[in-house]
Amino acid sequence: MSGPLTPSQTVGPFFGVGLPFERGEQLAPPESAGAMRIEGQVLDGKGEPVPDALLEIWQPATGFGRARTDSEGAFSFTTVKPGPVSAPGGRMQAPHFNVTVFARGLLRHLVTRMYFPDETQANAADPVLNLVEPARRETLIAKQCGGVLHFDVRLQGEQETVFFAI
């Protein structure tokens, strides 16, 4: 029998005083071996930047990161790439980060995943990507832009990011 869960409420616009913390966006020091930078933007249904969003990325092997968006809706993380992860039932999942999105205007947080562009084979076999209609899968795969991985989060509309029920 389940107890009565406490409902969610929006993080609001003023979480800056409480949630972001120094070097929260660094899962690995920028100078460390294998460190990579992830950059992206959070965009709304009109393609406008969302300047009051907070992202958390989490993978048990690499740790936890938290970063807010700036006035351009931009965020960044520094991390090392996680390895493949076992899935329920013994299959393997391609390397990925779990990404949680909070923002003013989100009454509940959103959960998505960021996969890596250099894992074509593993991505093709990934049990979660395979649950997503093929045309929308690319919203979950970061793009290599020079030395940086680019991953945008589109909350609504054109090329809307795939979000998962939780």
Binding site: V17, G45, E48, L106, L107
Partner: protein, 225 residues
């Protein structure tokens, strides 16, 4: 279950209109979201639970104790779990450069706190009662007094960010953020109760508020939107 989470799209809360996903959320089979919650990398000092002792002087306002238990849906206490809070000051102003409310900042109040629950799942903060504040959602829109809470719980799927309200606040029925929760029982779960037993004579009123997070045996909600 009669309780429901708020929907993503709730047009009365204008901020949802361009931010709620239009596509249905994708369901994952059982087991994909029940890996352990993150280990919180931020240090938590003993003093972090007392928002009235972070500066040279004491903040202006009504000193209060806010306490309760963090439980999972089977009633098990969550031990040593992180609770983060943030709030406006007694005048209804946040220490945030984007807060344009013409009310005074308090040099002795930051408005952020953290603590770990004890072995019975208790958390405890000392703070001042936050003021109501206006927002531009609709004409004459005011948020009821509230404290923002953030918790991790035991698993990835336990994560919760929410707001705690105060009993009897006349702004609650007019607040689209609270009213986005579809049923009264659900809304009531966000309202603390005055706790005369925990109130410290000659010092501070106490409010009690328990938080229930999704645990291992929780029934998943139906998909929304």
């Amino acid at each position: 279950m009669s309780e429901r989470e708020p929907p993503y799209l709730y047009p009365d809360y204008v901020g949802t209109r361009l931010r709620a996903p239009a596509q249905p959320l994708v369901n994952l089979p059982d087991g994909f979201h029940d890996f352990p919650a993150p280990l919180f990398p931020r240090t938590i000092a003993q003093v972090d639970h007392d928002l009235t002792r972070q500066h040279a002087g004491e903040p202006i306002g009504e000193r209060i104790i806010v306490t309760g238990r963090v439980l999972d849906s089977d009633g098990r206490p969550l031990r040593k779990t992180v609770v983060e809070v943030w709030q406006a000051n007694a005048a209804g102003r946040y220490l945030d450069q984007d807060d344009q409310h013409p009310a005074p900042l308090d040099p002795n109040f930051t408005g952020a706190g953290r603590c770990l629950t004890d072995n019975d799942g208790h958390y405890r903060f000392i703070t001042i009662k936050p003021g109501a504040y206006p927002w531009k959602n609709h004409r004459n829109a005011w948020r009821p007094a509230h404290i923002h809470f953030s918790l991790f719980g035991s698993e990835f799927r336990s994560r919760l960010v929410t707001q705690m309200y105060f009993p009897g606040d006349p702004l609650m029925p007019r607040d689209p953020i609270l009213q986005s929760i579809p049923d009264q029982a659900g809304r009531d779960r966000l309202v603390s109760r005055f706790d005369p037993e925990t109130t410290v004579p000659e010092w501070a009123l106490a409010y009690r508020w328990d938080i229930v997070l999704r645990g291992r045996a929780a029934t998943p909600f139906e998909n929304e939107p």
